[in-house]
């Protein structure tokens, strides 16, 4: 049953995130919520280099973007977290089973006879994982900044006040879960200390290795929780922006 649940879980996320990206090609901006002085940016659309929200860094539309193609801010950024997850060691094992039945489960036969593994093209390209990791770490910093911004609300006096709302908590939990997933990465574990045979000679590396190993033990759990929560964060901001959900303010100084 596990490959079936993995198949349904991944499929649901891929369908939803693709739909969310294309939703932003036209019409009102629902990936940013600015009501009641808040500043929530959906993680699917952050950083927003070009786009229609107040957080867009360089304007509405990239000048080099072909006019006949629809544009969404997610198109410029989403490939990075997508690539990071696609090449992740946990996800690889999971989707090889769930989508390609390679194998569907342990000791269960396979539907095909030929097998190349990750030794030849195209799957040899999975070795690019550590480069997606470098970019994903930058993303964590940006999403951390988004979470920090969600704690500041523009009051009636036009000044920003520190506060906390349910949306802030959603964005904070999002960056914590994504951080737990990213900083428990197998490649990171190798790069910070796993490459050394004698870690006792490099105590900083040993400490980093132990910390990453600690997160790495539950890498699958972090992967699923962060996947679900990043989707939920987009849903939350979208529904708040559409005035379907009300963002409850817990306190403001």
């Amino acid at each position: 049953m596990q490959p079936l649940f993995v198949f349904l879980g991944f499929s649901a996320f891929i369908v939803y995130s693709t739909w969310a990206a294309f939703q932003a090609t036209s019409g009102p901006v629902y990936y940013h919520f600015g009501g009641d002085g808040a500043d929530y940016q959906s993680p699917f659309f952050s950083p927003e280099l070009f786009g229609g929200s107040p957080n867009a860094l360089f304007g509405k539309l990239p000048p080099w973007w072909p006019a006949f193609l629809p544009f969404s801010p997610a198109f410029l950024m989403m490939w990075i977290p997508a690539g990071f997850r696609f090449t992740c060691y946990y996800y690889r094992g999971a989707y090889y089973k769930a989508f390609w039945l390679d194998p569907v489960a342990c000791t269960v036969g396979e539907p095909r006879k030929s097998y190349l593994g990750e030794r030849y093209l195209p799957l040899i390209l999975q070795n690019v994982h550590r480069y997606f990791l470098y970019l994903a770490v930058v993303f964590i910093c940006i999403l951390g900044y988004d979470a920090w911004k969600s704690l500041w609300f523009i009051g009636a006096d036009g000044v920003k006040h520190f506060g906390l709302a349910v949306g802030s908590l959603v964005l904070i939990v999002n960056v914590i879960l994504l951080g737990g997933y990213t900083f428990g990465c197998h490649s990171l574990r190798h790069l910070v200390g796993g490459f050394l045979d004698a870690k006792s000679k490099a105590s900083a590396c040993a400490n980093c290795y132990n910390a990453v190993s600690c997160l790495n033990r539950k890498h699958m759990l972090w992967a699923w929780l962060s996947l679900f929560w990043v989707g939920f964060t987009d849903v939350y901001i979208r529904l708040c922006a559409m005035n379907i959900w009300h963002d409850f303010r817990i306190f403001t100084f």
């Binding site: 060691y89 946990y90 690889r92 094992g93 090889y96 089973k97 390679d102 194998p103 342990c106 000791t107 036969g109 396979e110 006879k113 097998y115 593994g117 990750e118 030794r119 030849y120 799957l123 040899i124 070795n127 690019v128 994982h129 550590r130 480069y131 197998h186 490649s187 574990r189 190798h190 790069l191 796993g194 490459f195 045979d197 004698a198 870690k199 006792s200 040993a206 790495n216 033990r217 890498h219």
Partner: protein
């Protein structure tokens, strides 16, 4: 006491063309599958062949497939499996059958001989001994728990379903290589062989080997993936090559 039905693989002439033969026997509290096999051997099928030795989960001899799952017969208690239905006991399917539950696992020993042996650095002390820290050896000690039961080799679909025995050494020998390669005293380089002759790229991280390991060695996460990363260091990472040029000792 309850009567339990077992379906045990019995080979035909010259070890081939076998079939599952049904036996019924009384099961009592605390029995393991190996006890059942011995009981059937003693009372109903004197010519039933099975390999066993320690009956304590340490020799790795009694590997078989119990209800389709690669397991040690001596470590599978009857209260761990459903006995209200017939219990199937079959030999490991990744290796050539010899007779009944016994398979020819000699391929594994031939593979082991091809892996470069331990090559320590010169001794640290005049008396010919070495010094190393426990924290440096912790990682390798996990791999030394292996009892060579070959259940991980049996469950690996690269060997089991795709018969890549000539191109892939299997999880057991990736663990063995990791134990040598990550040893703080070792100076040998096994990475080029791992990529080419030993086919580490065939592993697609299904973690089946980790699931069946009776010693609970975290084969995939602690041995195979770190070795894959070392292969990436050497063959697929241009930034890493640059780093090595800048800091050759790093």
């Amino acid at each position: 006491m309850s009567t339990v039905t077992f379906k045990i693989w019995r080979s035909g002439e010259d070890g081939k063309d076998g079939k599952l033969v049904e036996y019924q026997t009384e099961a009592s509290e605390g029995m393991v599958v190996l006890d059942v096999v011995h009981k059937i051997q003693a009372t109903q099928a004197n010519d039933l062949a099975c390999r066993w030795n320690c009956k304590a989960g340490k020799c790795g001899s009694c590997s078989a497939e119990i209800n389709g799952k690669p397991s040690l017969m001596c470590m599978t208690r009857l209260d761990m499996i459903p006995i209200d239905k017939p219990v199937t006991i079959e030999p490991m399917r990744a290796f050539p059958p010899l007779r009944d539950l016994v398979t020819d696992v000699s391929w594994n020993f031939r593979v082991k001989k091809k892996i470069k042996q331990f090559k320590p650095r010169p001794p640290d002390a005049p008396d010919g001994t070495w010094r190393m820290q426990q924290e440096d050896i912790d990682r390798v000690q996990e791999f030394r728990k292996c009892i060579e039961c070959f259940l991980c080799q049996d469950v690996c679909h690269v060997l089991r379903d795709h018969n890549k025995h000539d191109e892939f050494i299997g999880p057991r020998y990736l663990v063995y290589t990791a134990a040598l390669e990550m040893h703080p005293l070792d100076t040998e380089d096994r990475i080029p062989e791992l990529k080419k002759a030993q086919g580490i790229g065939y592993c697609n991280i299904t973690k089946c080997c980790t699931t069946v390991c009776p010693e609970h060695i975290t084969i995939t996460d602690n041995a195979i993936i770190p070795l894959k990363e070392r292969v990436v260091d050497e063959f697929y990472d241009p930034l890493g090559w640059l780093w090595k040029i800048i800091r050759p000792k790093g």
